[in-house]
């Protein structure tokens, strides 16, 4: 009986690992999508409404999904401490500390710190467009990876678990 329970646990564990890895691929796509959508909103607010950066960041932190939400909320906080740390430095720290980003996404976001709040609206718009394009490319790759590897991870997890059970029993 104990052997049977152990085998079932192993089967479930392996299946969970496989399904988890597949889900993580889907999450990565969602995060990139949320960041790109957040930057599009930021671009519109700065370009079309000419709003001050701290206000925009504050508003967007309430209207966007993770991880854009955290990025904007922390940036709004940093705007209240500009006498301690320039926004360029603060932005670098925020992007590096933001959870769940791959190196590509970080590389797309980092240059914004040199531009946001420092350039005229046109310059900021161009930089945001560049960052969005890079994020969109990363999203396409992430989706391809999800389609290619997602099912593989799921099958590997379930069948690997089954295989272990056979071996142990």
């Amino acid at each position: 009986m104990i052997r049977l329970m152990g085998a079932v646990l192993i089967a479930f564990g392996a299946a969970w690992l496989g399904l988890g890895a597949a889900a993580e691929l889907g999450e990565r796509v969602k995060r990139l999508e949320a960041l790109s959508a957040g930057l599009e909103l930021l671009e519109r607010e700065l370009w079309e409404r000419g709003s001050p950066l701290p206000e925009v960041m504050e508003q967007l932190s309430r209207r966007t999904q993770e991880p854009a939400r955290t990025l904007f909320a922390r940036c709004a906080q940093a705007c209240g401490q500009l006498d301690r740390e320039p926004l360029t430095d603060a932005w670098r720290g925020l992007v590096e500390e933001l959870d769940g980003l791959g190196p590509e996404s970080r590389a797309a976001l980092l240059p914004l710190g040199e531009v946001l709040g420092r350039y005229e609206a046109q310059g900021q718009r161009e930089a945001l467009e560049r960052a969005r394009r890079a994020l969109d490319r990363a999203q396409v790759r992430a989706e391809e990876e999800k389609n290619r590897l997602g099912r593989v991870y799921q099958i590997l997890g379930v069948s690997g678990g089954g295989f272990l059970v056979i071996l142990l029993l």
């Binding site: 700065l46 000419g50 709003s51 001050p52 950066l53 701290p54 705007c79 500009l82 006498d83 301690r84 320039p86 926004l87 946001l116 709040g117 420092r118 350039y119 005229e120 609206a121 900021q124």
Partner: protein, 303 residues
């Protein structure tokens, strides 16, 4: 009063990076109220401009990064919202303090669109002189207690804008009579110093301010849109300004304006002022004599 002046100095320091703010606070409290400006020059220590001259406040030289940070603080990390002001060379910050900037201008289609490699900055501390118009009010008000059309003439730095602002405040708040609606054409933002839509200097509760717009246009817009009882404009410099004032006077609005002049004769010598005086739109002329640190007002009734 002295404490207010000290407070204005401390408020102006909010645009400085923390390290420079600490240096600025090394100025003794008794001198803070006298400081007129703070000067930041790349490679030089921070200085305070006092009536007797500039005084260095620190040993560490100001860096380009300090100046970038100052611009970031003054613009609240939103240079795109203050470009019009930047093109003029200065920004107005909370409290009405003015941050003047120098550096390499970035030109686009013949216009300054930004400043890069900042080289120096001047933080001019705004201090309103509430009560400056008290000594002249009675001579400028009509029998009904309402302010009559007045031109203020004085050389630069004698306090024209200070007197104009306090006249506006007294009329708008009804300090000595019924309150009046005042429209202010504040082309350079020196009279009311709007910040986030709020005047940072006392111009009264019934005052409408149109900032950053050429005076002649602003006077006409205020006249059409805000139905003012008094229209005010600082520094009449162009024939269009004179025409706008004449039109406004024709609509029954009282006028308040200032003009640069070293002596009374300038009004008849300069063609622009001659035209203004010829139109007969002003009832009173106030000439400001700056003698040492004190000011003396001379009021003349115009024909």
């Amino acid at each position: 009063m002295e404490r207010n002046k000290e407070r204005a100095y401390e408020q102006a320091l909010q645009v400085l990076p923390l390290s420079l703010r600490r240096e600025a606070l090394s100025l003794p409290p008794e001198d803070r109220g006298r400081a007129e400006e703070l000067r930041l020059r790349c490679g030089q220590p921070l200085t305070a401009v006092l009536p007797e001259g500039e005084r260095a406040l620190g040993r560490e030289p100001v860096t380009g990064r300090d100046l970038e940070q100052l611009l970031e603080l003054a613009s609240r990390a939103s240079v795109h919202t203050v470009l019009t002001q930047l093109r003029r060379g200065y920004l107005t910050v909370e409290g009405g303090h003015r941050v003047g900037l120098c550096g390499s201008a970035v030109m686009r289609e013949g216009e300054v669109c930004n400043l890069r490699q900042l080289s120096s900055a001047a933080v001019r501390i705004a201090r309103s002189v509430v009560g400056a118009a008290e000594p002249v009010w009675d001579k400028l008000a009509g029998p009904d207690g309402a302010l009559e059309s007045t031109l203020v003439l004085a050389p630069p730095g004698a306090g024209k804008t200070t007197l104009l602002r306090d006249l506006i405040r007294m009329a708008s708040d009804g300090v000595r009579g019924s309150p009046q609606r005042v429209g202010v054409a504040d082309e350079r933002g020196e009279v009311a110093a709007l910040w986030n839509g709020r005047p940072q200097l006392p111009v009264g509760a019934r005052t409408d301010v149109l900032e950053g717009c050429p005076k002649a246009q602003a006077l006409m817009m205020l006249l059409r849109a805000m139905n003012p009882q008094i229209l005010a404009a600082d520094e009449i410099t162009a024939p269009e300004d004179v025409h706008a004032l004449v039109t406004a006077a024709g609509c029954g609005t009282a006028l308040l304006a200032t003009a640069h002049g070293r002596e009374r004769e300038d009004l008849s010598r300069r063609p622009l002022y001659r035209e203004l005086m010829g139109a007969g739109v002003f009832r009173h002329l106030v000439y400001i004599h700056a003698e040492g640190g004190a000011r003396r007002y001379e009021v003349e009734e115009l024909p």
